[in-house]
Structure formats: structure tokens, C-alpha cells
Symmetry: C2
């Protein structure tokens, strides 16, 4: 069995176990990431065109019952003929499909909607679920808080006999522990992100802008890999540290600090790494920030391992940073789980409130970002795989503040 099939089997098994343990009957995924996580099939309407709930994946507690993938007929035309353990249900879109050679037995010939219908996939879900062995009163976990208000209202209206629970904590628990397939994607994403970052660093010179460095990163990453999305390239040059859709026109000048916080997408999985550079000798405020962050960061890298509470890592990191020169450092978390999330950061977090204890096969980021008015951004971020005995650092680049 290949790595991906093994991954999907593992996800399905753990999902069914979790449903059993929580007394739930089914788990419905409605976000781009979770539909892909359960089914192995990404929806381009969700990833690229950002249409909410254009596909659903449903896993049942019943070990003998196939899972269901609901996807538009147009997208489904690209699916493998068989997805092990899944039944595929399609719904028509506004897009005509022709079959001049009579290759399909199931060609849709009815009336098509005139335009995208935001509830088309949900209508297919509502028609499909009652035939899936869910009886009145069955409790179904769905992404209630994350789905659109319209979808949430229609779910209740169209399936009035089901009871609903929030699925977010279940997906957090499932996704935090990675399979071999997932670790392979994250490892490659980290390597590509470091390569592309290093390629962009070659362009650092007086006069360069953040937009130019971000373009250099994107071009280098795209040369290596074509992912599901562009992920992110949050690059600052000089004092302006705000994340930007329209980059600051500031051109690099001597003494500027230059921060890369970037990630490339590999099969839907994305790295989140950061390194900081200076164009000539940086100012005292940037040096003081780096001198405080670095020992805290390094201390956390040492601490991370199986059995360690994430809150303990946070507490130690904050303490070291505060006593090393940033007494008022006031950040909510110093790292997070990493995987499929298009928002990049995902739960659990290295924060005071998180009760998660690290386990083998979790992949996490440790980050120590500093943003100072009149200074800019100083940041280190590393990806770590939790192993049986400690951690494996996925990053290879130096954590030093590199003066160019």
C-alpha cells in the first residue's frame, strides 16, 4: 500500500475511533482542508476559487459503512475511478460536460443551474444522508462555527431529525498527529521554503523592496513545486512590519532589517518558517530584540519532546526572552501545530492556556516574532517533528541574524 492510501486508512480509522469514544454517529467535513483530509481529494472550487462548502466528506462511526464524498460533477470528472472506502455523490453545476464518444454511463442531461448556487452541494448532502443509516436523533459533528450562516441554517432545516455537534475539536485532535504521508509533505515543504527563501536572499541589496523579495520567493517556490495554493510570503524590509497585500514601497537602506516569514504548499501542506537578515549593521533596538529572542527560542527547541506540555514550553520561552532584554514581551503564543491549515497556524498552540501534551508524530512550529514601531520585524521560526525521544529539526538554515 502506498503512503497516501495508508494515510487515508489511518485517518478513517482514527476518525471512527474518535466518533465511538465521543458517542457521535458521523463526522462531516465542509472546509477545504478537512474535505481533503478525510477524502484525500482536494476541491479546486474551495482551494482556488474559495467557494465555501462546494464539497463535503462524511465519515460514519459504523465500521462497515463507506464514507461519502460529495463533489460537483465537473470536479468529480477528475477523480480516480475508485476511492477506497468512499462512495462518490456528484451534483450538477452550470458547466456543460459533453460525451461525444459515449464514455460515461452517468452523464447528466437535466436542467443546469444558471450560475453558481451556494447551496448546491448542501442539497446533495441533505438528499444523501438520510439513506446512510442515520436514524432520528443521531448526533452528527459538523464544522458549525466555520461554515457559512446560510449553510448552517439549511442543515438544520433540511435534516431536522438529526442532532448537531461542533466538529472543530475533533479535527484538531485528529490533525495534530501526523501520518507518514503528512510528515513527508511537511518535510518537503520546509526544504522548498528554505531553498526559495535562500534564493530570494540573493536579491537583498540597497534599493530592493519587500514586494520584489516576495516575488523572488514565489518564483523560486513555484519552480520547485505546484501546490494547492500560494500559501504566504510575509516579508518586511525596514521599519514597516505590517503584513501586507499591497507592500510598502520602502526601498532597503543600510541598517534595515529584513524578515522572511514564508511557506510553500506541497500537496496542501504548508511550511511556516522565518529568518531575519540585516543590510549592514542593524540598529541597537533590533540587536537587543534578537539578543533576547534567540536564547528563548533555542531553549524551547531543546525542551520540545514527547510528554512535554505545550504550556510549559511557552512559559519557559517567555521567561527567558523577558529576562534577556525584552521585559515587556507580551505575545499570546510562541508556536503552534502545522499542517493543512490555509491560515498557517493551527491548534494546538504553545500558549499559557493550551493543555496539550506533545506526542510523537506531531509537527510543530516554534516562533519568536518581534514587531517594533520604528524598528521592523525580527523573527525566528522553526519546524520540528516530535520523535520518540525528542525532536527532529526540519530546518537546516542558520538561526543567526545574518548581516549582509
Amino acid at each position: 500500500m502506498n503512503l497516501k492510501d495508508n494515510h487515508l486508512l489511518n485517518v478513517a480509522d482514527r476518525a471512527k475511533d474518535l466518533l465511538e469514544r465521543e458517542g457521535l454517529d458521523a463526522l462531516i467535513a465542509s472546509s477545504a482542508e478537512n474535505v481533503y483530509y478525510l477524502s484525500g481529494q482536494p476541491s479546486v472550487f474551495m482551494y482556488t476559487f474559495r467557494m465555501s462548502e462546494a464539497a463535503f466528506a462524511v465519515v460514519f462511526r459504523d465500521p462497515g459503512r463507506n464514507s461519502i464524498l460529495i463533489m460537483s460533477e465537473f470536479e468529480a470528472s477528475g477523480l480516480p475511478e475508485v476511492i477506497p472506502g468512499f462512495d462518490i455523490v456528484t451534483y450538477p453545476q452550470w458547466i456543460d460536460l459533453d460525451d461525444p464518444f459515449g464514455m460515461r454511463k452517468d452523464l447528466f442531461t437535466g436542467e443546469r443551474p444558471d450560475a453558481p448556487r451556494p447551496d448546491a452541494a448542501l442539497a446533495a448532502l441533505a438528499e444523501t444522508l438520510p439513506a446512510s443509516g442515520l436514524t432520528a436523533g443521531a448526533v452528527v459533528a459538523a464544522e458549525l462555527g466555520g461554515m457559512r450562516g446560510g449553510t448552517r441554517a439549511l442543515l438544520a432545516e433540511r435534516l431536522p431529525l438529526l442532532r448537531w455537534a461542533e466538529a472543530a475539536p475533533l479535527f484538531t485532535a485528529l490533525r495534530a498527529r501526523k501520518t507518514g504521508f503528512e510528515i513527508a509533505q511537511l518535510r518537503e515543504s520546509c526544504a522548498i521554503s528554505e531553498e526559495a527563501l535562500s534564493a530570494a536572499v540573493q536579491d537583498i541589496a540597497a534599493g530592493v523592496t519587500a514586494a520584489e523579495l516576495a516575488a523572488a520567493f514565489r518564483i523560486a517556490a513555484t519552480r520547485r513545486c505546484f501546490g494547492f495554493s500560494e500559501r504566504f510570503a510575509t516579508i518586511s524590509v525596514g521599519p514597516q512590519f505590517a503584513p501586507a497585500s499591497v507592500y510598502s514601497p520602502h526601498r532597503a537602506a543600510p541598517g534595515d532589517i529584513i524578515k522572511f516569514d514564508v511557506g510553500a504548499d506541497v500537496q496542501g501542506y504548508g511550511a511556516d518558517i522565518a529568518r531575519t537578515f540585516a543590510l549592514g549593521e542593524p540598529g541597537d533596538a533590533a540587536k537587543r530584540a534578537y539578543a533576547a529572542l534567540r536564547p528563548g527560542h533555542d531553549r524551547m527547541l531543546e525542551l520540545v519532546g514527547p510528554g512535554v506540555p505545550m504550556a510549559a514550553v511557552f512559559a519557559e520561552g517567555m521567561q527567558v526572552i523577558r529576562r534577556s532584554g525584552l521585559p515587556d514581551y507580551n505575545r499570546g503564543h510562541l508556536g503552534h501545530s502545522i499542517g493543512l491549515a490555509l491560515a498557517t497556524e493551527e491548534a494546538p498552540f504553545f500558549s499559557a492556556a493550551d493543555t496539550t501534551v506533545l506526542e510523537p508524530n506531531m509537527v510543530v512550529c516554534i516562533e519568536t516574532p518581534y514587531y517594533g514601531y520604528g524598528v521592523g520585524s525580527v523573527m525566528i521560526e522553526d519546524m520540528l517533528l516530535i520523535t520518540e525521544n525528542g525532536n527532529e529539526r526540519l530546518n537546516k538554515l542558520t538561526r543567526d541574524l545574518v548581516v549582509l
Copy 2:
């Protein structure tokens, strides 16, 4: 006054007029596109990190009342000091901001949340609105169907004295008519998309994959412009026409048709254009499809102009295509408005059901896509600006099926 300030003034004026006409007291934007549309300020947390409702923009019917932009403190650090006609309200995130040189009077020093809170911006909105002159019973239009279920529920809970209306039709009406700023962005996006498409076409040769052509398009587009998002590059090589997050491994072979349906992002505005190529002589099915689509497409290009109902253009295009060789062509629409939508296509549509009559300053796409099992995709798509007397074609590339 510059083009963008003029645009924002025009949008605010038209929004206030529309609220007056509809008897509504305020309009709340909560999607990435509409927050940017009303305020001129894009949220990177929404565009890049896809966090829903991380920012809000509110316009009031009262002509004397400033609009409100709610944005996280971290993002807001990059805003201009003054946004004409707007008050800025910020909320704290998990991200620490330092002020070593005492540059800010408003530095947040309270307790930060430990991680992203999906309702942080909404909490700020709920605290701000009651002081904005909205009295009990005021009717507020918000993107109810599009916002997350959690946000919709909290809105009702936190602001129980307001009444709510769906804002989607208002935004459709406002956004369909473009300002000079918007037309300039769309014109540039179309030009960059054609340039990048032409650059990628240079790579068409036996053995090339869709992923390689998509990467070539993206790299060429990124060289010309750094937009808010990557928009899309839906490219098919040979018979596999499904849109893909993971591209088909198929390598181009003689007779394959190759379709580019692409758009680059310029300041949040995105083109949507398509052209088709063949690697050597294409098969009969592809030739027949092109021969049917082309006259229908060209007829629609002639018809489009002010005062013309979009449904009439659709009816005529379908009739010509069906009688030119594709009698069963069954598509829901043959084009759409184009602008900010990350989903690319936006209302109104060239469809049987749409009642919109074209007006000057609308920018629309005319498209005639064919997807055939065993054939692949044949497609032409053009962008048109509606003028006082007819239309201006923004595309310069030939609409011919180019045999390479």
C-alpha cells in the same frame, strides 16, 4: 484627487444612496472583497490567511457620519494615518507590538489572547456599533449568508436591538458598475494575464504537463505584478479537463488540445480570460466544438452594449452555438461580471434567468467553454468594458484555435 480616492468617494456615495433607497440604516462588509471595496484597505488575514471576518467595514446611510473600519492592531499598523471618511477601530491579537522609541500614543498593553480568536473582530464591531447612532429597530444589511454561522449567531446575540437584512444584492448592484480606478486595474490585469499566457505558450511542446504550463504562467505573472492572491491558472493538456489542485501527470502528445483559463491579480482585481491551442492537428471532436463555439462567441461580442439585457445575449449565443454543431450544448451561463471576486465569476450573469440590462462602465466576461470526455477543453473567454455606444474589447490575443 487621485484615482483611488475618487473611487472610494464614489463607492461611499453610491452606497449611501442605495441605503436611502432601500430604507436601510447601515451596510456592513465582512468578506475580504467587500471590506476592501468599501474601505480601500485589504486585510491580509482575510486575503492571504483566509480568516473569515477578521475585519469589517461599515457605511452608514447618514451622509454626515463617518464610515468605520475594524481591523486588528497588527494589520492596522500598516494603514495610512488618515483614511478620508473613515474612523479606524482596532482590536488586539496574540501578536506583541513594541514601541521602543515612544512613537505611539495608543499602544495596547493589556492581556493578549493566546491564539487567533475567530470572534475578536466581531466583538469590536458589537462594541462600536451602538455608539454609531443606530437606534433600536435600525435595519442593517450584512453579508448574512456568506459569513460564518458562528458570526451570524453572535451578531444577533450581541446586537439584539438591530434588525438584519441580506447585503449580497446590494454589493452585487454596487460592484457591477466600475469606477475609473477599477477599470484601470482590470485593464492591467487583462494585459498581464495575456502576457503571462503568451509566455507560458512558448513552453508548449510534446511532453509538457499542465502543471508546468501553470507554473510558467504564474512565474510570468508574478514577474509583472504582486497581487493580493494568486488568482487562478486552470490549464488543461489533452483529454483530462477537470480543474485540478493536483494536476494530471499527462504529458502533451500530438493532437492534444491545450486550454488556458487564467487570471492575474492586480490590486485585488482579477482578469478571467481563456484561449485554446493545439499541439499539431487536433481531432475532429475538438474541431467541431471550436467551430460551434466561435460563431456564438463572436455574435455575443457584437451584441454586448448599453441597454442590452444580459439574458438576450445568452439566448442568442446559445442559439448560434447549438445550430453550429453542438445541438446539446447545455451551459447555465455564457459570461458574468468581473472584478474583485476571489471566485472569479460574479453576478450578474449572462444567463436565461438574469434580468440585468447592461450599462456603461460594467466590465464583463463572455465565455464559451466546452468540456468533452475523451476530448478535453476548448474555450474562449474575453473581457469587455461596456461603453456609451457599445463595448471595448480588453483582450488583444487572437480568438483563433492556434495550432502549434
